[in-house]
């Protein structure tokens, strides 16, 4: 049954005490065979299943997830969305995603709370200014809205920012008005619900143990719920993608590290845009509940602990307090870490590999959330057609042999 949400359904269910809302998706037991198995029930994986069913007419699809939907990096990021990347290949990919974001709530009939409040990237030194101005020009050439803000314009937009009296003064910023934030769980849930309606089996608490291949062809996936055969397998397991690839004898150029974030106690609206600074490493936005959502950095060593070191938090809080002295006496409510898979060129891999029927969507590193619908859309195309979409053709595995890297260390806000 198609679940429609509207003001009328809210009123109707309010009269019944909100007890009769239908379940958003089924929880089926896995079948013996699927045309496509997606490993990883985050936004990218569920979105891939959604687009496979919707745009490519595949019906026999399963998404398997070790924990619960969106419990990995989809529910752990700082929800920032932007497309102001330097190179054409990345700009096209992230802009494709941003365009899908703009219509996603309507398309899914599920409110992902996409809020285009603008994203600002601060410059703190001469090099930053040159680099950011270059990126603004590159964005404009690619038709992406991006502009340079002077210090005075920044002060007008964010009056609480300390621009002068700090070790690395704020000298200017790039600004993308169409950027913003979205509610991250809602993205996973929206995709899951609509994929489920089209017959996709979403199987939670089902851990992939081994990707099985035979004579260079995919056979299926050994899981905690038994062996499942498949014609095609797409691995979208963020930090654990490399570990799973290894079970099929494939080595990927990924390193897994914890990336941390924290939120403060809720306060009244004080900052109505997203402000990021790579140089001093602090980025912040305010959630609809009023919490400041603060992004910290990655640890300097490989780890799968999903916690991260306290020194990273200290560093970020130090920068925050210097940039926004008014936050100095606030209390932080929660801190957590997610395991991100970092590629040598800070760009993702959306690609097939040597094994026929095995596909990878990984390497999003510290900035995959913004790309969720776009990544899912082109990955579904890659799986369905056995070849890359024009938009993700540069993000193949071959680039690590050819040397044609897509170096986005400048635009990726968290220095890797």
């Amino acid at each position: 049954m198609k679940k429609k949400y509207s003001i009328f359904s809210i009123v109707k269910n309010a009269f019944k005490g909100h007890k009769d809302w239908p379940k958003m998706w089924r929880s089926p037991e896995p079948r013996e065979f699927y045309d496509v198995i997606i490993i990883g029930g985050g936004g990218h994986g569920l979105g891939t299943a959604y687009y496979l069913a919707k745009e490519h007419g595949l019906k026999n699809i399963a998404v398997i997830e070790k924990g619960w939907l969106g419990g990995g990096n989809t529910g752990r990021n700082t929800t920032i969305i932007r497309s102001n990347y330097l190179w054409d290949d990345s700009a096209h990919l992230y802009e494709h995603s941003l365009k899908l974001w703009e219509n996603l709530s309507t398309e899914l009939n599920y409110n992902v709370m996409f809020s285009q409040r603008g994203v600002m990237n601060l410059a703190h030194n001469e090099h930053d200014i040159k680099e950011i101005k270059r990126r603004v020009s590159a964005n404009n050439l690619n038709g992406i809205d991006s502009l340079w803000l002077s210090k005075e314009e920044i002060q007008k937009k964010v009056p609480i920012m300390n621009t002068d009296n700090l070790r690395y003064p704020v000298l200017g910023a790039s600004y993308q008005p169409r950027g913003g934030t979205a509610r991250h769980d809602a993205v996973a849930w929206g995709f899951a619900m609509r994929a489920d309606e089209m017959g996709v089996d979403i199987i939670q608490n089902c851990e992939a143990h081994q990707i099985k291949t035979k004579n260079g062809k995919i056979e299926g996936v050994e899981t905690s719920k038994g062996f499942i055969r498949a014609n095609k397998v797409g691995v979208v397991a963020s930090g654990h993608t490399g570990v799973l690839a290894e079970t099929a004898g494939i080595r990927l150029p990924l390193q897994s590290k914890p990336l941390q974030a924290l939120v403060s106690e809720p306060i009244k609206p004080i900052i109505d845009t997203v402000v990021m600074s790579s140089a001093v490493h602090a980025y912040v936005s305010q959630s609809d509940k009023g919490e400041l959502v603060i992004g910290a950095g990655t640890d300097g060593y490989n780890s799968f602990t999903q916690r991260g070191g306290f020194d990273i938090i200290e560093e970020t809080v130090r920068a925050m307090v210097e940039l926004y002295p008014v936050f100095g006496k606030m209390k932080m409510l929660r801190q957590w870490g997610g395991i991100v898979d970092i590629c040598p060129d800070a760009s993702p891999i959306i690609s097939k590999c040597d094994v026929e029927g095995l596909f990878f969507n990984c390497g999003w590193g510290t900035g995959g959330f913004k790309a969720t619908p776009g990544s899912a859309n082109v990955f579904a195309h890659t799986i369905a057609k056995n070849e890359a979409h024009q938009i993700n053709s540069a993000f193949n595995l071959d680039r690590f042999a050819s040397g044609k890297l897509v170096d986005e260390h400048g635009a990726a806000a968290v220095a890797h």
Binding site: R251, P253, T305, D311, G403
Partner: protein
């Protein structure tokens, strides 16, 4: 956050050290005959196991010497530290805390979506 026992200076806070990635990576022999793919693997691909990991550290803000370390990446427990010219300890001399490739250890993981 780790306390790392530098083989030259003793236990110090991790903030004094920098991580140097995988240890014991060997440059391939016969470089003239090696194809782009092998070179790509040598340049870009490093081990990334969940569990026992051989890695390098340098005591950047101390003696500035390099050394090797065996750490469990699923718990962050440091299992052994040895000098750069010492023999690589055998893998089976360490206990593996993860039963499946992407499983969670009983202690040390912050992944509460999976831990029971």
């Amino acid at each position: 956050m780790l306390i790392i026992d530098c083989p030259y200076c003793g236990p110090r806070d991790q903030s004094e050290f920098s991580n140097g990635g995988e240890a014991h990576v060997k440059r391939p022999d016969g470089s003239a005959d090696i194809g782009d793919r092998e070179w790509g693997e040598y340049v870009f691909i490093r081990a990334n196991p969940k569990g026992i990991f051989y890695e390098r550290w340098v005591h950047s803000h101390g003696c500035r010497k390099w050394f090797n370390c065996v750490r469990d990446t699923s718990t962050d427990e440091i299992l052994k530290i040895y000098k750069i010219d010492e023999e690589r300890p055998k893998l089976d001399s360490f206990k593996n805390n993860v039963k499946t490739p992407s499983g969670e250890p009983n202690l040390g993981s912050g992944n509460f979506t999976v831990k029971k």
